[in-house]
């Protein structure tokens, strides 16, 4: 079997990476700065969409400077403990080279620590991880690279990490650059194709070099002499499916049960998807409070059937759910919505927009729940309102609780209804550090009461 081309042609040196010349140049200069001891910024964040060469750049850098690599990716648990142990293993002290020769960190035998998917850390499992990373960035004698797809998310989670690093943005490479790379690889593999073929493949990948190389490899077995643009079309890239918008339009136009059932048959989604789209477009499709109420009564029954089906794993209930939502809507409509516009359910948009802040809120509720011996839903539904009020008004309590609960910047920001990088949040975090400092000196400033699991 052939090797995976994305691995086979993974760039070994920085110059082999497609695009992003200036970011790569700055990365190289940062690498050079380590030859005279640790520079001021010991960490670099490589930010940008997937498949544009961030990980490759980190490895290429290590290769060029002869550094060893320690990788921590999301599948490892990266909580405070794990990070500290890595930091102490490689980051602060010296290491041995491949040949077993002892190398002092100062002499250049460094270890590059790579934290992949850095924007996904510090969930529930990574409590205290952010702070451990910040500490590592301050104390380490080893270069650290953090890789993130979503820079804003990383910044939201920890402004402090971001401010202790140099950030380098990786943009999508141009189609021209990608098509040239594809043509190079094809040349090495003895594949023949027209310029147009490479251009089209490059334009389809949306800048994701990795997926372009994968696509190219999939054509290598075709046995055809010279590949052309039309060969790409023949492969068929996406599954053809009736768009949900069309399903919704057909359903709200259905005059009877037969038409309603046909509308669903043509739609290739699950009942849950159908429900989501119908619900999101009910106000557009049903006119008048009376029709709307009857329509919702039908959706509500369908929803109940779906819930029972999913819970008890009795999928024979699905047809009833489907009939309730499709035929049910068709028969409960008395008047006709004219010229209605159907669109992506607002709920979906809201959910995706609020993803980050919901994550922060859930983490915060969980910490408060453990501390006050209750459930996070009790906190969310009642106590959080009190606590955010107290913390907003009482500066002393704010610092103490932020320290006792190991709150992150984002959580403090959520409580105070301020941006994560606002001055007030920074102020609270400074108070926390002061308290921790005091605690270390043994004044017991951090001794707050609480039952099991409080600390």
């Amino acid at each position: 079997m052939d090797a995976d081309w994305t691995e086979k042609y993974r760039p070994r040196a920085l110059k082999d990476i497609v695009g992003n010349a200036s970011a790569l140049e700055r990365l190289r200069r940062w690498g050079e700065s380590w030859s005279n001891g640790a520079p001021e910024k010991r960490g670099v964040i490589l930010a940008g969409p997937p498949g544009v060469g961030k990980t490759s750049a980190a490895h290429a850098l290590a290769f060029e400077f002869g550094w060893e690599v320690i990788e921590l990716n999301a599948s490892d648990q990266r909580n405070a403990g794990a990070i500290k142990s890595i930091a102490h293993r490689g980051a602060i002290f010296e290491g041995f080279s491949h040949t077993g020769e002892f190398r002092r960190a100062r002499d250049g035998g460094r270890k590059l620590i790579i934290l992949d998917e850095a924007d996904n850390i510090f969930g529930r499992e990574d409590a205290g991880g952010a702070r451990a990373i910040v500490q590592m960035l301050r104390e380490t004698m080893q270069p650290v690279i953090l890789i993130a797809n979503d820079y804003q998310k990383l910044k939201q989670k920890s402004g402090e990490i971001v401010s202790s690093c140099i950030t380098l943005y990786f943009d999508l490479p141009s189609e021209f650059q990608v098509s040239r790379l594809l043509s190079d690889i094809a040349g090495k593999e003895g594949m023949k194709a027209t310029e147009g073929f490479f251009g089209m493949l490059a334009s389809q990948c949306g800048g994701d070099v990795r997926s372009a190389v994968n696509d190219l490899q999939s054509f290598s077995k075709g046995g055809k002499n010279v590949l052309e643009e039309k060969d790409i079309a023949s492969i068929g890239y996406r599954d053809v499916q009736i768009e949900p918008e069309i399903f919704v339009r057909n359903l709200f136009a259905a005059r009877n049960m037969g038409e309603a059932r046909r509308a669903y048959r043509e739609f290739d989604g699950t009942p849950d998807e159908a429900m989501l789209w119908l619900d999101g477009n009910m106000t557009a499709g049903m006119s008048g409070a009376e029709d709307l109420s009857k329509g919702y009564a039908m959706l509500s029954s369908a929803d109940l059937f779906l819930g029972r089906a999913n819970r008890a794993k009795i999928y024979s209930l699905w047809p009833y759910a489907i009939d309730m939502m499709t035929c049910g809507i068709a028969v409960s409509r008395k008047s006709r919505a004219v010229g209605a516009e159907f669109k992506l359910p607002f709920w979906l948009i809201m959910m995706s927009r609020s993803k980050a802040s919901r994550g922060v809120r859930n983490g915060l509720c969980m910490k408060l729940a453990r501390y006050t011996h209750t459930s996070s839903s009790a906190i969310a539904s009642q106590d959080l309102a009190y606590y955010s009020r107290m913390l907003e008004d009482d500066q002393e309590l704010r610092g103490h609780m932020a320290a006792a609960l190991y709150l992150t910047e984002a959580e403090v920001g959520y409580l105070l209804r301020e941006r994560t990088d606002s001055e007030r949040v920074a102020q609270v975090m400074a108070e926390v550090r002061a308290l921790e400092e005091k605690g270390r000196k043994g004044t017991g400033a951090l001794q707050v009461q609480g039952g099991p699991g409080a600390g």
Partner: protein
Amino acid sequence: MNDIWVEKYRPKNLDEVVGQAEAVKRLKAYAQGGSLPHLMFAGPAGTGKTTCAIALARQLFGENWRNNFHELNASDERGIDIVRGKIKDFARTAPFGKVPFKVIFLDEADALTSDAQAALRRTMERYTATCRFVLSCNYSSKIIEPIQSRCAVFRFRPLEDAEVISYLKKIAEAEKLKVSESAYDIIAYHAMGDLRRATNSLQAAAAMAKSIDDDVVHKTSALARPEEIAAMVKEAVAGNFSGARGKLDKLLIDLGLSGEDILKQLHREVLEGDINISEEDRIRIIERLGEVEYRLIQGGSDRIQLESLLAWIASARVKRTA
């Protein structure tokens, strides 16, 4: 202030527990005897169930009580996995030090699915040599019969206003607060026998103002009632479904409330709120709330079921009194 008062003033031993004299008396007998059956604490929030469980453990195990006491909240980890994983792991290991058994406190046990409860029953039987369970729940009837019959059941009742107030006064004294008498009454009235809520309300008031009077506590009492609830009902009653749904989205997404939380708040709002409908229609809505809650328990989704409720209210089915 440097701590949350709910924790700072949580009673450390059974003698300090507010109210619940009957339960405390029996629990103290267990603590003195050093033995324990499985226990079930049933009662509303903020009446001392968790406090009693912790105080009992302190008295049974002394200084190192934490080694032999494990607290879990079933509402946060409700699946069967919690029973098969965490609970079993803790139950099957020998107690630490010279004590005959360890204690697992399973809070909000009524949130466990019936499968999980069945698994729990087996675990309780199997590890009874090394482990005692203290289950807490709002209603004992939500716990399957075989578990109930294996437990000594304790009922926790909502606290009297006078009990709430005397506890608040102790805090006020320790924290050197100035609180007017009528402010205590208002806090206790809104707390409805829930000491946690009363304490939080007092602390929020203390954070807001140096001297705590009626005005301040009216503000803090309103904190636990999101204004979106009242606004949502108003929109629905006015026949504006889209407006009502906008508020619902906010409650579900921004505030993270569950469907059942929202129903409880709605219940209160329909009972007491300033809404422009007849009492007859209020009752019709309340009946509907019960129906919706039942549907949620059966597996309906929060959003669709509540939307359907709002659409029902918004339609002509509830007649508005001009």
